[in-house]
């Protein structure tokens, strides 16, 4: 079956995110008030052909652990998208 998954990769808490900080400063320059913190990450969408949704999610998890995210500095979450 075809399964669409979205892997979101974000920096771990405590890891400096200068990109997020720069976006936050730019938002302040535009006059947006109350922006306390901005964090930037990556979104990777996968179209998989798998036996089941569970198998597709397990495969995506392994992909994230081995390549898509760097466990030293990042964490990830996987969500199913409507096909």
């Amino acid at each position: 079956m075809k399964v669409k998954l979205r892997v979101t990769v974000m920096k771990k808490p405590g890891v400096l995110d200068p990109e997020g900080k720069a976006i936050g400063r730019a938002l302040a320059h535009l006059g947006f008030a109350g922006v306390e913190e901005v964090r930037a990450g990556k979104v990777i969408e996968l179209d998989l052909d798998a036996e089941s949704e569970a198998a597709a999610e397990a495969a995506a998890r392994e992909m994230a652990e081995r390549l898509l995210a760097n466990g030293v500095i990042e964490r990830f979450r996987i969500e199913r998208l409507a096909a």
Binding site: E19, L67, N70
Partner: protein
């Protein structure tokens, strides 16, 4: 062959590296990333600078998973020498051969300038020609050189004398201003547990001839030549 320089798509400092190795009398050849084996008799693997795979995903992430890196892993496990400079350092951390990671420079700016490095240990095949506390000048050119590791890793690097170089002033003082990319503990280069793998962000290979403005980086390559001769 004594040394192999790995070439990935986007690597661009392999010729500077080849010249530096030649200046130290180290025989070398350039090897393409699709090879699955190193030439017989390879003592040293060098990962030069550049922008392998366009820095896609994370700097060095794709190169770290290419076929030739399995052979490099086996070479390292046998106690072989490995040197990674700039993108090469990023690839070594992505491959798990050195701890930590290189983040975007704290200022978000690409830094292209000379920097000064303080030699933090002379106890390695790469730094033996210097005394601890010696200062050298080297160019740096990177957007992602901000060394990061967790507290436990930093404590281990310090306790095991595995910090090879720190960013410093010309006088050898480690200051926040000299640590331009924001690296944790001003770390510019680190050693593996067996001290035979060195990764660093600045480019000592580009300071090995008077025409490059100086020869501050030459002792690193001469020290490697000593180690290869003794091996």
């Amino acid at each position: 062959m004594q040394a192999v320089i790995l070439l990935f798509p986007g690597t661009n400092r392999e010729r500077d590296m080849a010249q530096a190795l030649s200046r130290a009398g180290i025989r070398h050849r350039i090897l393409f990333h699709s090879e699955s084996a190193l030439p017989a008799g390879t003592d040293l693997v060098v990962l030069p600078g550049g922008f392998s795979y366009g820095d896609y995903l994370r700097c060095g992430a794709i190169a770290a998973r290419s076929p030739v890196m399995e052979a490099v892993r086996a070479h390292a496990a046998r106690g072989g020498f490995v040197l990674g400079v700039c993108n090469g350092f990023q690839i070594l951390t992505e491959a798990g051969l050195l701890p930590g990671a290189l983040l975007r420079n704290a200022t978000l700016r690409f830094l292209s300038m000379d920097c000064h490095l303080r030699v933090e240990t002379s106890d390695s095949p790469f730094t033996r020609r210097w005394t601890r506390g010696a200062v050298l000048r080297a160019p740096m050119a990177h957007g992602d050189g901000n060394y990061f590791c967790d507290d436990a890793t930093l404590a281990a690097l310090q306790a095991e004398d595995r910090i090879a170089f720190r960013y410093a002033t010309a006088e050898g003082e480690v200051t926040a201003a000299a640590n331009r990319n924001g690296s944790r503990d001003a770390i510019a280069g680190i050693l593996s547990e067996n001290r035979r793998i060195l990764g660093l962000m600045p480019h000592p290979e580009d300071m090995t001839d008077p025409l490059q403005g100086g020869t501050d980086g030459l002792p690193l390559f001469l020290a490697i030549a000593d180690a290869l001769a003794a091996a």
